[in-house]
């Protein structure tokens, strides 16, 4: 899922400096799952901001509302124009897609991100996540033993490892495992080293223009795209 992390409080506060009535919209999807922007985080952030406003004697009011997902307009029903009208600005605790979709739905209101969208990743533990995919649009995992070189190799090599691999770690730091070392070890284990003996040709990058995904059964319906 998409992993995100709250921006520093000072940065959020700064975004809100010229507004007095603020709505913080949470997201019950990925942002909630990774403990960054669900209902609980909306309440916590609003409490922190309210306290900060109070301490500084600022006359600001902040409310919260969490939708099931900010990446689907069907879930915006609770956010009526009537409701939105009461606020000068909106902050969103969703990923970048959610923020943009909210901004698109309420074009007259400034919409600010309260999170940084970090990655498509996995849960290593509660509150601990690690990136696994950069959505390059041309998955190569079949020949790399299920380890993504685009995401996990610091240089995104397709014919690694480079000369900087250091006792199984990446040259950029010991905290990063070398993806190509792991690819080698896994393929050796599976007796599939021939997969990486072939030269992998230059990648055809598919993530350089706005991507629209149409699933096969819907081709006819969305042929205008």
């Amino acid at each position: 899922m998409v992993k995100s992390k709250q921006k520093p409080l000072a940065e959020i506060k700064d975004l809100l400096k010229s507004y007095s009535s603020i709505l913080n919209v949470g997201c019950g999807g990925c942002a909630s799952v990774c403990l960054a922007g669900g209902q609980r985080e909306v309440i916590a952030l609003n409490n922190e901001l309210s306290l900060l406003f109070k301490q500084e004697g600022l006359d600001k009011k902040i409310d919260g509302y969490t939708v099931e997902r900010q990446c689907n307009v069907d879930f915006f029903q609770g956010l009526s124009d009537e409701r939105i009208k009461k606020y000068d600005c909106i902050i969103s605790m969703a990923c970048g897609a959610g923020v943009q979709f909210l901004a698109e739905a309420f074009k007259s209101k400034p919409v600010f991100p309260a999170l940084n969208t970090v990655s498509i990743g996995i849960d290593k533990d509660i509150g601990l996540y690690e990136e696994r995919c950069r959505a390059c649009g041309e998955c190569v995992l079949a020949y790399t033993g299920g380890i993504c070189p685009v995401t996990r190799c610091a240089k995104g090599l397709f014919n690694g490892p480079c000369g900087g691999t250091n006792r199984g770690k990446c040259e950029i730091g010991n905290e990063y495992p070398c993806a190509w070392y792991e690819i080698y070890e896994r393929l050796k284990e599976q007796n599939r080293l021939q997969d990486i003996k072939k030269i992998q040709p230059a990648m055809l990058w598919k993530n350089q223009v706005l991507r629209v995904t149409i699933q096969e059964p819907y081709q006819e319906r969305y042929k205008m795209y």
Binding site: A154, K155, G156, L157, F158, N159, G160, P161, C162, G163, G164, T165, N166, R167, G168, E171, I172, G173, C178, Y181, Y184, E185, L193, K197, I199, Q200, P201, A202, M203, W205
Partner: protein
């Protein structure tokens, strides 16, 4: 003699000479004199000079520009190109431009990660990797085509180099990777600085047994230790570098003022051994910021006169 390129290095290697190449790091600025100064020490002492490309991810004068200055000094440059700083479009146009101005050798590298440099939050390009770059230059030279298959008007006849680090993990993959670079189209290899001679012998032996040393010229990398601090830094801080304790001990064993001389002595002994090592076609001397010592090293390692 059939040559693939218009490189002097290729001719020297094909004639069976033991090659000797050097290296110049361009200045952090437009200081032309600094390059001419360094070139002065290398001229006549080496067959070709590598011109590094924003090495350690620190911005310096561009490699092709510094290569042209070196060329005007009468030295043959080896234009280094890393995959970190430019995409395939910029690479292909720079290759054509470099060739148009008389550059005849290229070294294709991945490049140190930008995190190491002094602008660590730059966006690393890595559009293609070093093996794909080698393959692209070969396609441009041998098929006269760009990466997309379109015809090139004026083919760049370059001698294609690649790097290899026999000491990086996993060791068993280092020879297959060399084979991949050969298949991609590399004509010569310049290795990482060698200090662990035992491992180097083993790597070369496997490469020889696989028949690879017949297909490519391998130049062994040599960097003389200037100080004990440098040796310790190389041992512990430089990724992929293999400095055995014996080297440290040997430097520790001499009088402080003789350490750099001992470093040169070690380098010369290595060069002597490489001359005899079957499968090694030459030495690439990386006297980092020590270019003025190159004439002395060339002399002491009995590499003079050059062909």
């Amino acid at each position: 003699m059939e040559l693939k390129s218009e490189s002097k290095l290729e001719k020297i290697l094909k004639q069976g000479h033991f090659a000797f190449t050097g290296e110049i790091g361009p200045p952090k600025g437009a200081n032309v004199q600094a390059i001419r100064e360094k070139a002065k020490y290398l001229k006549g002492n080496v067959d070709m000079v590598n011109i590094t490309d924003n090495q350690t991810a620190v911005v310096r004068m561009s490699s092709w520009a510094a290569s042209l200055i070196v060329l005007s000094e009468g030295l043959e440059p080896n234009y280094q190109m890393v995959c970190r700083d430019r995409n395939r479009l910029a690479m292909q146009s720079d290759i054509l431009g470099a060739y148009a101005h008389g550059i005849r050798n290229m070294l294709c590298l991945s490049g140190d990660h930008q995190k190491f440099g002094n602008q660590p939050f730059a966006k690393g390009v890595f559009d293609i990797d070093s093996i794909q770059l080698v393959n692209m230059v070969k396609m441009m030279r041998d098929e006269g085509k760009f990466l997309n298959g379109e015809e090139i008007d004026g083919i760049p006849k370059l001698f294609i180099g690649a790097a290899e680090n026999p000491f990086a993990d996993p060791f068993e993959w280092r020879v297959p990777r060399l084979a991949k670079k050969i298949e991609a189209g590399a004509d010569f290899i310049q290795t990482q600085c060698v200090y662990n001679m035992g491992k180097m012998r083993e790597w070369i032996k496997i490469a020889r047994e696989e028949g690879l040393t017949e297909k490519i010229y391998i130049l062994a990398g040599v960097t003389p230790m200037k100080s004990l601090g440098m040796a310790k830094y190389m041992q512990s801080k430089v990724p992929g570098m293999d400095v055995p304790d014996e080297i440290i001990k040997r430097l520790q064993g001499v009088d402080k003022k003789n350490i750099s001389n001992e470093g040169i002595k070690i380098a010369c002994e290595q060069i002597e051994e490489f001359k005899e090592m079957k499968g090694v076609s030459g030495v690439h001397l990386m006297a980092i910021e020590w270019e003025h010592k190159v004439p002395e090293i060339a002399e002491r390692a009995k590499m003079l006169p050059r062909p």
